[in-house]
C-alpha cells in the first residue's frame, strides 16, 4: 500500500505534498468529500509516510489502472461471494462505451507526471507496524472507539462522545511520540463528534504539542462547529470516475451487469459501491423496481413494509460484515441506502425523459458514461406515470425523509408516508 493507492485524488495529494515540501505542514486537516472516495485511505497512507523511517521520492503516476500495489482497498480480497454468476446476456449492448474508457483513464492522469511526491518505503519497521495496525504513534478513532474507553458504556454508537476524544486524543497527544518522528490522530466520521466532544478538542487542535498531527475525516464538514473549521485546513476530495469504479469492481470479482449498476449508483464513491456489491443487494434492488412499477394505493403500504424489512436485512448483513457496528447504526444505514435507491431510480427516470433514451447528460466518450441503465424497461414504465416534474417532487420528499431518519423517527412511518407521498405526487402531476 502506498499513497499511489488513492486514485483520482491528485488534487488532495498535491496539496499535502506541497505543504510538506515547503515544511509548512499544518497541525490539523479536515479531509472532506463524498463517502467512500478514499479520504480515510489517504489519511492512513499519509500517516504511514509521515511515520516511515525512510520515505522515498517518487513520481506521481497512476500506473495502468490507477492502482499502485496489489493490496485491495479494504484488505478484503474475498469479494467473490455469491457474485460470480456468469449471467451477462443483456450486457453486450454497452460494451463499446466501456472499452472507450481505457483511453479516457490515461487522460485523467492530469499533469501530475511532473510532480514528485514523498511516499512510504513499505519496508521499514514503522511501515510494517502501520500495516499491522499496531504502530504506537498512529491513533485511529471512530464511532466504535467508545467500546474501548475506560467507562465503556453500552451505547448506540451513533455519535462520538467526549470520553473518546479525551481518552484517545487529548490524553495521548500530551505525550512525546514513542518512535520519535510524529504522533498522528485520524478521526473517522469526525462529524459525529457531539458538541461537547468538539469543544473539548478545540484546545488540542489550536496548539497541539510539537510533531502532533490531527486529521479529521468527514463527509459532512457543515456539521462541525465553526470554531473547529477555522482551526483546520480543509482538503476536498472529489468523486471518482464511474469507469474507474466499474473496472475496480470487476477486479474484485463483481459480476459485469451488477458492476455497471453499482458504479452508476454509487455516484463516484468506490468504497460505497464495493460495499454494496459485496452485500449482494442487487436482486433486492431489481425486485424493488418491479414492485415500484405496480405501485398503487392498494399495495403502497405493503411496499413500505417490504422496504422496512429490507432495511433491517441490510443492517443485519452490515453488522455481520463489520462486526463492531451497533444495530441502530447499521439499521439507519440500511434505511439511508433504500432512500438512495429511490432517489437513484427517480433521477434515472427523469434523465431518460429529459435527455432521451440514452439518459446521459455527459458527452459521448466521457468517463461517466456506462451505457444503458440497468432495468431500462422498468424505468420507462415508471416514466409513463411520473413525469420529470413529479420525479423532482418525489426526490424532494426523500430528502425530507432522510432528515426524519437522522431525527430517529419511526422508520415504518417514514417509508409509509414516503410511498403515499409518491402516489400523491403522481396523481397531482397527472
Amino acid at each position: 500500500m502506498s499513497i499511489l493507492e488513492c486514485f483520482g485524488q491528485d488534487h488532495a495529494i498535491i496539496r499535502l505534498q506541497k505543504a510538506r515540501q515547503l515544511s509548512r505542514l499544518p497541525h490539523s486537516y479536515i479531509f472532506y468529500g463524498p463517502e467512500g472516495v478514499g479520504k480515510g485511505l489517504l489519511a492512513g497512507q499519509w500517516a504511514k509516510m509521515m511515520l516511515c523511517s525512510e520515505p522515498r521520492r517518487r513520481k506521481l503516476t497512476w500506473g495502468d489502472s490507477g492502482q499502485g500495489d496489489s493490496d485491495g482497498l479494504f484488505n478484503s480480497t474475498d469479494s467473490t461471494n455469491s457474485l460470480d454468476s456468469t449471467d451477462s446476456a443483456d450486457s453486450t449492448d454497452s460494451t463499446d462505451s466501456i472499452d472507450s474508457m481505457d483511453s479516457a483513464d490515461s487522460a485523467n492522469a492530469v499533469d501530475s507526471d511532473s510532480v514528485m511526491i514523498d511516499d512510504c518505503c513499505d519496508k521499514c519497521a514503522d511501515c510494517l507496524m502501520v500495516r499491522a495496525g499496531t504502530h504506537p504513534d498512529l491513533h485511529k478513532i471512530d464511532k466504535q472507539s467508545v467500546l474501548h474507553t475506560r467507562k465503556a458504556r453500552s451505547s448506540q454508537m451513533l455519535a462520538l462522545p467526549i470520553d473518546v476524544i479525551r481518552e484517545m486524543v487529548i490524553e495521548p497527544a500530551g505525550m512525546f511520540p514513542s518512535r520519535k518522528r510524529a504522533r498522528i490522530f485520524i478521526i473517522e466520521q469526525a462529524e459525529s463528534m457531539n458538541i461537547a466532544a468538539q469543544n473539548a478538542l478545540l484546545k488540542t487542535l489550536e496548539e497541539p504539542p510539537a510533531n502532533t498531527f490531527l486529521i479529521l475525516v468527514t463527509s459532512n464538514p457543515e456539521l462541525f462547529l465553526p470554531t473547529i473549521r477555522s482551526r483546520c485546513q480543509e482538503i476536498r476530495f472529489v468523486s471518482l470516475p464511474k469507469a474507474f469504479i466499474y473496472k475496480r469492481l470487476l477486479e474484485y470479482g463483481v459480476e459485469e451487469r451488477q458492476g455497471r449498476f453499482w458504479a452508476e449508483f454509487s455516484d463516484g464513491r468506490f468504497g460505497y459501491a464495493l460495499q454494496l456489491a459485496q452485500m449482494g443487494l442487487y436482486d433486492a434492488k431489481r425486485e424493488f423496481l418491479e414492485q415500484l412499477c405496480r405501485l398503487g394505493y392498494d399495495n403502497a403500504l405493503v411496499l413500505a413494509e417490504w422496504l422496512q424489512s429490507q432495511a433491517k436485512e441490510f443492517g443485519k448483513v452490515l453488522g455481520e460484515k463489520q462486526g463492531e457496528i451497533s444495530t441502530s447504526d447499521a439499521d439507519r444505514q440500511g434505511r439511508l441506502f433504500w432512500l438512495d435507491v429511490i432517489v437513484h431510480v427517480f433521477s434515472q427516470v427523469m434523465r431518460r425523459q429529459v435527455f432521451g433514451v440514452s439518459g446521459q447528460f455527459s458527452e459521448p466518450g466521457s468517463q461517466n458514461q456506462l451505457g444503458q441503465p440497468d432495468q431500462a424497461e422498468q424505468l420507462d414504465q415508471i416514466g409513463r406515470r411520473f413525469d420529470p416534474y413529479v420525479c423532482s417532487r418525489v426526490i424532494k420528499a426523500v430528502t425530507v425523509s432522510r432528515r426524519y431518519i437522522f431525527a430517529n423517527a419511526n422508520p415504518a412511518l417514514i417509508f409509509e408516508s414516503l410511498m403515499l407521498e409518491c402516489l400523491n405526487c403522481a396523481r397531482a402531476g397527472v
Binding site: A125, L128, M129, A132, G133, T134, H135, P136, K140, Q144, S145, L147, H148, T149, R150, A152, R166, I170, E171, P172, A173, G174, M175, F176, P177, S178, R179, K180, K203, T204, P209, A210
Partner: protein, 367 residues
C-alpha cells in the same frame, strides 16, 4: 522457539506484564505479551506494552533449547500458569501456535506474528542516575497521588523528575496542591542535571517492579523516554510533553505559625469533619487557638459538624479552610507519627512537612 522454564518465575513475569496490557483496546495484539528467547545468554524475556509504557521482564532459571519469539494473549497464559501446579513447563513454538506443556497438560495457543508487535525506539540509553530501589519506591509513593488527571495542561498530568548532581527530586501538582520529595542518588560523572515529566501510570507500574529493597535501580533519560532498569525488569516509558510550572514560586516561605500535629489523630478528625460536606460546600474550617484545633464543616441543608482535638500551639488564633480530600490524600502516604504544619495567614497556602525531604503545599478554600 523451545524453552524449559520455572513456572513460578514465568508466572511472576507474565503477571507483571498483564498489569500493563490495556483492558480495552481496538488493537488485540496489545493485549498480548511477547516471549522472546536468546540462546547465547540463556534468556527468556517477557515483553508487554500499551504503546506508552513497555515492560521487559527477564525470567530467571530457564533452559533455552531453540531461539525464537511468540506473541500470545497475556491473560490466557497468566491464567494457565496460575492454575498449573507443575514445577517446570516447556514452551514450544511452531509455525502458528505456542504450545505450553506441563507434566500432564498440553495447551496450544494461537498467537500473532511477532513482527507486528509494537516496539518503541530501540536506541541505546545512557545510564544517568542510580538510586536504591527502596528510596525510589518511597519517592514515587509520596508524589504520584498528587499529580493531575486528565488536565488539558498536559505537563502536570505527570510527575517532574529533576536530577541535580547527587539529588533526585520529584514534584507533582494538580494546580491546587503540590507534593515534593528529594532523595539521594548516584549520578554518572558527565550528567549534572536532567529533568523529565513521567506519566503517573508508568510510576505505578514502576512501584511494582521495585521489589528488592537494596538493589540499585538504573535510570536513563533519553529525550522522549525514560528507562528504569532493575536486574530483571526494564521499564521504558514515553515522557509527557510540555513545560512543568515553576514550582519553586508556589512553595510559601516565611511561615510564622508552625504546629506539630499527630498525623493519625488529624486523619481521624478530618474524616469525621468531612462527613457533613457535600458538592456545594466542600471545605472544612480549621480553627487554631491556644492548645486546641477545631475542625468544623457546615452544609446549609444538612447541618453542622464540629470536632475538637488537642494540639500544642501558642501562637495567634488562625482560621483556615481546606478541602478535606487534599489533606486525607497526603496523610494516607506519610509514615511518621507526626507532621509539621506551617501557615502564615488564613488565605495563604498551607505547608505540610515530614522529615527533611518531603513537603506538601495545599491551597486554602473559603468556607
Amino acid at each position: 522457539m523451545n524453552v524449559k522454564c520455572n513456572r513460578a518465575a514465568l508466572y511472576e513475569a507474565v503477571q507483571l506484564a498483564s498489569s500493563i496490557v490495556p483492558a480495552r483496546t481496538p488493537k488485540p495484539i496489545l493485549q498480548c505479551a511477547k516471549l522472546e528467547t536468546q540462546k547465547k545468554d540463556q534468556k527468556l524475556t517477557v515483553i508487554a506494552t500499551d504503546n506508552e509504557i513497555t515492560l521487559e521482564h527477564i525470567v530467571p532459571q530457564v533452559q533455552v533449547i531453540e531461539e525464537g519469539a511468540t506473541v500470545i494473549p497475556a491473560d490466557r497464559i497468566a491464567a494457565i500458569l496460575h492454575e498449573s501446579r507443575d514445577e517446570t513447563i516447556d514452551l514450544i513454538v511452531d509455525e502458528a501456535a505456542c504450545n505450553i506443556n506441563g507434566k500432564d497438560s498440553k495447551y496450544r495457543i494461537y498467537g500473532h506474528d511477532p513482527d507486528d508487535f509494537p516496539t518503541v525506539s530501540a536506541a541505546q540509553e545512557e545510564i544517568c542516575v542510580e538510586i536504591k530501589a527502596v528510596n525510589l519506591k518511597r519517592m514515587i509513593h509520596h508524589t504520584a497521588f498528587a499529580a493531575a488527571r486528565e488536565n488539558t495542561r498536559y505537563a502536570i498530568n505527570g510527575v517532574l523528575w529533576e536530577q541535580e548532581g547527587k539529588k533526585l527530586r520529584m514534584v507533582a501538582t494538580d494546580g491546587r496542591r503540590l507534593a515534593m520529595i528529594e532523595g539521594e542518588c548516584k549520578a554518572a560523572k558527565n550528567k549534572l542535571a536532567e529533568n523529565a515529566i513521567v506519566p503517573v501510570k508508568a510510576m505505578t507500574v514502576m512501584e511494582h517492579i521495585l521489589n528488592t529493597p537494596d538493589e540499585m535501580v538504573k535510570i536513563a533519560f533519553s529525550g522522549n523516554h525514560i528507562t528504569t532498569s532493575t536486574t530483571l525488569a526494564k521499564l521504558t516509558c514515553n515522557l509527557v510533553q510540555g513545560r512543568f510550572p515553576k514550582y519553586t514560586d508556589v512553595i510559601p516561605s516565611g511561615c510564622d505559625k508552625i504546629i506539630q500535629i499527630d498525623s493519625e489523630a488529624l486523619r481521624s478528625a478530618v474524616r469525621r469533619a468531612a462527613l457533613l460536606t457535600n458538592e456545594q460546600s466542600r471545605g472544612i474550617l480549621m480553627t487554631f487557638s491556644k492548645d486546641q484545633l477545631c475542625l468544623s464543616s457546615s452544609t446549609p441543608e444538612a447541618g453542622d459538624a464540629e470536632i475538637n482535638m488537642k494540639i500544642e500551639y501558642q501562637g495567634e488564633p488562625l482560621k483556615i479552610g481546606f478541602s478535606p480530600q487534599y489533606i486525607l490524600d497526603v496523610l494516607r502516604v506519610l509514615e511518621g507519627p507526626q507532621i509539621t504544619c506551617e501557615f502564615s495567614d488564613g488565605n495563604k497556602p498551607g505547608l505540610i512537612r515530614t522529615g527533611k525531604d518531603f513537603l506538601y503545599v495545599v491551597m486554602p478554600v473559603t468556607v
